[in-house]
Symmetry: C2
Amino acid sequence: MQSYPQSPVTGQMMSQPLSISSIIQFAARHYGGSEIVSRRVEPDLTDLHRYSYRDCELRARRLARALVERGIAMGERVGTLAWNGYRHLELYYAVSGTGAVLHTINPRLHPEQIAYIVNHAEDQLLFFDLTFLPLVEAIAPHCASVKAFVLMSDRAHMPLETRIPNLLCYEELIEAASSDYSWPLFDENAAAALCYTSGTTGNPKGALYSHRSTVLHAYASAMPNVLNVSARDTVLPVVPMFHVNAWGLPYSVLLSGAKLVFPGAQLDGKSLYDLFEREGVTFSAGVPTVWLGLINYALQNGLRFSTFRRTVIGGSACPPAMMNTLIDRFDVQVIHGWGMTEMSPLGTTGGLLVKHLALPKEEQRKILQKQGHAIYGVDMKIVDDDGVELPWDGVRFGHLLVKGPWIVASYFRDEGGDVLQDGWFPTGDVATIDPDGFMQITDRSKDVIKSGGEWIGSIDLENIAMAHPAVMQAACIGVHHPKWDERPLLVVVRRPGAELTREELLGFFEGKIAKFWMPDDVVFTDSLPLGGTGKIQKNRLRELYRDHRLPGT
Amino acid sequence: MQSYPQSPVTGQMMSQPLSISSIIQFAARHYGGSEIVSRRVEPDLTDLHRYSYRDCELRARRLARALVERGIAMGERVGTLAWNGYRHLELYYAVSGTGAVLHTINPRLHPEQIAYIVNHAEDQLLFFDLTFLPLVEAIAPHCASVKAFVLMSDRAHMPLETRIPNLLCYEELIEAASSDYSWPLFDENAAAALCYTSGTTGNPKGALYSHRSTVLHAYASAMPNVLNVSARDTVLPVVPMFHVNAWGLPYSVLLSGAKLVFPGAQLDGKSLYDLFEREGVTFSAGVPTVWLGLINYALQNGLRFSTFRRTVIGGSACPPAMMNTLIDRFDVQVIHGWGMTEMSPLGTTGGLLVKHLALPKEEQRKILQKQGHAIYGVDMKIVDDDGVELPWDGVRFGHLLVKGPWIVASYFRDEGGDVLQDGWFPTGDVATIDPDGFMQITDRSKDVIKSGGEWIGSIDLENIAMAHPAVMQAACIGVHHPKWDERPLLVVVRRPGAELTREELLGFFEGKIAKFWMPDDVVFTDSLPLGGTGKIQKNRLRELYRDHRLPGT
């Protein structure tokens, strides 16, 4: 790591490296009785798994010893293909705690991509949930670095026959290992975890987190302006542990002493609703598409939430209509979050300031729809195509750049070369920042519609479309225009049973935007292409509608 | 600093030292419009001073430049004798931000002690509020290291004649300095601030904080389990910036974007109440004696709080009666805090767990009266006289030991030599810890009453006495007993106008404690001796009652 000028006088405080194992040790010692409840992944096990922080630490310690006994050394990678559950949590702590590197893999990626990143990471072991047995059978022959595959279940769930070489049983590994293991201390800049971005172009690239970055992110993300996790909360992370570290909740929840509830593989509206009610969930976090399922289920069945009071929504922008429904119909506070795999992942969260508390509801809602303030530790700025910083006036939008101790300086194995611009990480997002420091994403840099030399933000247009009661999903892309280079095209999925014409929807935009921003056309479709993390694949849409002929051209 | 084993694989995150200047830069950039409101120290200025985070950073930067221009080098100490106000805040950031060391001095100490610590710290400059002009005139001749004294006011408030050599005017310093200054980056273990403990025995000893320890403490203390500061809060720190860093609020408030209100020198009940109401204070923090004044004022005048909803009480234990009054009469949530100058200062805070939320109010109240959970980063244990760790059963009490990255490893200039016990800092407190991790202070190690080989906790006895409606203050000390070595003596100040006899008060203890714990005697007095930080001086009491003859001896 870079070194900085020394002071002739050093503080006389205890020296202690920041470490992920310190979180699980703290949790077990100081909040030992706090509960962890998990929906099981094995389809025949319908009860919920329950244990305490204390139990979790003990099993993580035995697992750590098993890893060391199998020769996993500091810095070596251990892969996981798993849902949000207690065994995955044990791996989070056991792998990083020994000094090895936890490599969480997104099972929604194409099997070829999964094999690519297992090989690129040189995973030594690959742990996987029962769900992914067929997937692992398919990729195992292509994973040369993997010395053993570990099925995250007990002996009863092991396959009788398998093509997977060297298949081990998770529970047997733990049973065979002694708990006589002490979490080692090492330099806090040691690599701790690896997560690949699902890049839409080129090969996936790995963000390699350190113990220092993970602990700083955990402190920052627990704060009231961010995830606001306390020992009085019951937290259900919908956002997956197999991508972007479930927004750091496996760390921030445990250091806060909250009750933790894992949904396993069942992320449909009914399953989530039942679990929220049964376990008294107060706080959850996830992407908009998941909330869509939950909201629709609750609305269709006339249900309300007994304990659920707060959610952080990120991954992609929360449509204003969804925010309104959650707040007005369900009394659930919505905090807008923004971040990236490359940012551990949290960068900003929404929320009001003191001076906004007396504003009318509608004014407040407009503020809450912004992605909000940088989290202390993160700095951000917006720049034009030439890298010149733009003013924070809430109007001008530019490329969003960030820096901070939990943001990547480069990718694993230096894929993509030197990624920073003058020390700042280019997020690939386009945003405005207002004089109060509220950032609002207006687009992805590659999705912004460049029309006659001006920029049109596709997300603004989508949000307006989504506010129409007959619209279930909407995406806006730029398509070729002979005079303006690009003009906006709306691609819309109607609500089941709803009627809506092109003219009605365009009429709905009247008076809400500048004339210049008005979409040139609307097409209706049955579904939008989604990527591995549930986001709409706009590059795929642009391909599909490349030859779309806009009216009047 | 100590070094730890390196991993062969280092995380690929941005390298950035933790620094105090990063807080003020963040605050000015991202919450630039947030307000700082101060009662002024100059007696003729009765309006409130108001400005923004942005203004504060600009003035701190000019002040930093002025310090550098006057030759203040990295690691050199700069003293302050000042109330909670905006100029003191500017010094917090300007001094540490340049790499120099902010030395906050408790003006309530004896002038000889103040001169001692100014010399011990070798303060190069001494900044002081107008209030302390006579004090500084008295000590100036004895402060050889101080090159200049700076009165924290404008030209109009400078004395026409003074015996102070080299007296400068704060506002003139700032006006003369250019804002052309960039906050430097340096190693995060650099010393940042120095605070002397008001040791009751021996000379005061300095705790020398680093940038790293201060920033980690700031993150940790902002969390919902601790001070719980958000951008929606209006925070009034009653706890002084001249001691224990106002519990870190000058840092945690600014990184949270909250509105900050400073009370200046006026800490009486009426002044505080007026300021709370006028500025919409939602959260405050201070020692019990301050709340006593505020509560009595509000009760006597039949007042309620419009916006005040949460307070952290620490410094000494919050009497249960006070907690009940704040919660039941005023609807103010009380969080018990515990810490020490040597701990930056926060160690634990109270609060319920998920499983306590359904308990009856009385049961919850008992839990809230404990000092609570270690803050993530801090570890704690209790040991007997031989250093053997005691069980966490909520009953056994022992010496409380702590460790963590914001706890001293040694004192400034190594006063007191090697203070750690096997890597742990002995707090001098005696405590129980229950199976859920709740710590409760039962005594100071030196105040515990050792009777017939058993320990009797003086604070438990005081709390019971304080719950009697006729008792205003109570202290319990051990006095010599020919058979039992020591037995408890209660020293009590009655409420004005209240009647109470020895027998009535002892009768009040019946059934509340083991017979063995019953105080042997009660004496009534008009006042209890208080130290420089408002705590009851038990060593002084023990001296006063050394020859007290217990009944039956």
